[in-house]
């Protein structure tokens, strides 16, 4: 082939144009943007990149450079893990899976133009968008508390500095001091989470401050694994924990972070440390995208696509999907269904019927692990529970130890599944 001057100029002009356009335009590949790098987002990004073998460009938008898992953060409070052991980087997703990891906040979504705007000023184009932003808190959910008060009364429900802060405050409680938790109403992230946390705090205080007291104000009449936790609290932490459910005024709560007081059903108590876990909603970007209904983003059970916009998939805590609890395991399971559906839509790869599963392990005391789990299927109405199990009260120490050891295996497994 010979190149005359005219065609050379045309070619040169085309090259210049493609260089000035974003790289994603130049590649011509379908583009997936994932917002949120937790159990849903990191998993979906990794599976799409891994299984499409380069046929899909994947960008992951996550503000944190180091991700602290919420799961097992209670074990850090209890002294069973150090903080570094629940910290993960996105390095492998970039270097081994070719994912474009962008540490920035998504601040706007234009569903018509199919773009995501970032706080840093850039705009990302997508063919499919995955929102996996986790949770935010409902304004005014606990009388007297807002984000300005989170240093005095931490929520510690997004792991990292808040978790460290809560542990530090617990560690510096005076001898015989009082710790209070304001538990959240349903639905919320990690149903057994507050109660595993109470167990871990009791474990820590029993060791270093055995005359300290724990009060839980709960807006619910019952909670996840209630029988198992109450059995464990009676066995290991007798007399330390006062759980006040909704029937006893636990839903009538206000806090005063300045004075460090908690009022439960009109009775005011001076506290030395306080963990306020407010009511939750989908991460705010879902609301900004206009895909929420109430506090959450409803999705199809078949592929986790938004019921408002089929080009957007919502994973994990932020989604309203049916019977699955809001957990890291659930988000990870949903991510695999979404990854398969997105690859199918963008590259024509085979799509199999959706299947989901979840198991939540909780630690009550040293080597005393309990678990609850279920399998699920997709129906046109929702993600529907198929089968499930829960640990039994009165299990032997060997069974409980094996359950705890299984949870260690799961942690290593799911974090490798998320971050490579």
């Amino acid at each position: 082939m010979t190149i005359n001057r005219r065609s050379f100029i045309q070619t040169a002009a085309a090259v210049t144009a493609s260089l000035s356009a974003p790289m994603v335009m130049a590649s011509g590949k379908p583009r997936v943007v994932v917002v949120g790098g937790g159990a849903g987002g990191a998993t979906v990004a990794r599976y799409i990149a891994k299984d499409s073998k380069g046929a899909i460009d994947v960008t992951l938008v996550e503000p944190s450079r180091t991700y602290y898992t919420c799961f097992f953060s209670n074990l850090y409070i209890g002294g069973f893990r150090d903080l570094g052991s629940i910290a993960h980087s996105y390095g492998k997703l970039a270097s081994e899976y070719g994912i474009n990891v962008v540490h920035d906040w998504a601040v706007d979504i234009d569903r018509g133009a199919k773009t995501v705007s970032l706080a840093g000023g850039a705009t990302l184009n997508y063919d499919r968008l995955v929102l996996s932003p986790g949770i935010d808190f409902v304004d005014g959910a606990v009388d007297g508390w807002d984000l300005n008060a989170q240093n005095k009364m931490p929520h510690a429900y997004k792991a990292g500095s808040q978790t460290e802060l809560l542990k530090a405050q617990l560690s510096s409680m005076p001898e015989g001091g009082v710790f209070a938790m304001v538990a959240p109403p349903n639905p919320y992230r990690c149903p057994p989470g507050p109660y595993e946390r109470i167990s871990m705090i009791a474990h820590m205080l029993k060791k270093f401050n055995p005359t300290a007291k724990i009060i839980v104000a709960d807006p619910k009449p019952k909670f996840s694994k209630m029988g198992l936790f109450q059995e464990g609290w009676a066995n290991h932490y007798s007399g330390m924990i006062d759980w006040i459910g909704s029937e006893f005024g636990g839903s009538n709560v206000s806090v005063n972070p300045g004075a460090m007081t908690v009022s439960i059903d009109g009775e005011e108590t001076k506290v030395d440390a306080c963990n306020v876990i407010p009511a939750m909603k989908a991460g705010r970007i879902c609301e900004m995208a206009g895909i929420t209904e109430g506090n959450w983003a409803p999705v199809s059970a078949h592929d986790m696509s938004s019921k408002v916009d089929g080009n957007i998939h919502v994973l994990g805590d932020a989604s309203s999907q049916g019977d699955m609890p809001k957990s890291g395991f659930s988000a990870n399971s949903q991510a695999k269904v979404a990854a398969m559906a997105i690859r199918g839509a963008l590259t024509g790869s085979k799509v199999f019927p959706a299947k989901f599963s979840n198991t939540c392990w909780s630690l009550v005391d040293t080597n005393d692990g309990v678990k609850v789990g279920a399998t699920y299927k997709a129906t046109d109405e929702k993600i529907a529970k198929v089968d499930g199990f829960i640990s039994k009260t009165g299990e032997t120490a060997d069974v409980r130890k094996a359950t705890y050891e299984e949870s260690l295996g799961w942690y290593a497994g799911i974090t490798a599944d998320m971050f490579g």
Binding site: Y47, F329, N332, S333, K336, M340, K350, F352, K355, F356, S357, T359, K371, G373, A374, T375, V386, D387, G388, F389, S391, E405, E406, S407, L408, G409, W410, A412, G413, I414, A416, D417
Partner: protein, 114 residues
């Protein structure tokens, strides 16, 4: 192939019968289940649910690695969990939701891994 399969069946049977304290009846699968050819692509998708716990690098921390095991070993294990012949609540639940074809697909996929 058939002889190899028979040999493995026999060895599984023998290894079970070595345990003199084992009073349970032997768990035997019918040839029609053992002969199902697993769809590896379907197995790869289904396996993603397993790999939340069973690590892709095959390490054995708390939960065993299962990559590269014999097809028949995996088929037997999953049917034993499904029928509650083996203990473990999570595995009984996970296997309980699997059909014969799905178990064959998973076994073919995990056996193909290193």
């Amino acid at each position: 192939m058939y002889f190899k399969l028979l040999g493995i069946v026999l060895s599984v049977f023998l290894s079970n019968s070595v345990n003199s304290e084992e009073t349970k009846e032997k768990f035997i699968l019918s040839p029609s289940i053992l002969e199902i050819e697993g769809d590896i692509a379907y197995g790869e998708y289904l396996a993603s649910d397993c790999q939340t716990c069973h690590r892709a690098d095959n390490s054995n921390e708390g939960i065993p690695g299962i990559n590269g095991r014999e097809i028949i070993e995996i088929v037997y294990a999953l049917h034993e969990y499904k029928n509650k012949y083996r203990e473990n609540q999570v595995m009984q639940m996970m296997a309980g939701g699997l059909g014969d074809e799905e178990i064959a697909a998973l076994a073919s996929y995990f056996a193909s891994l290193q």
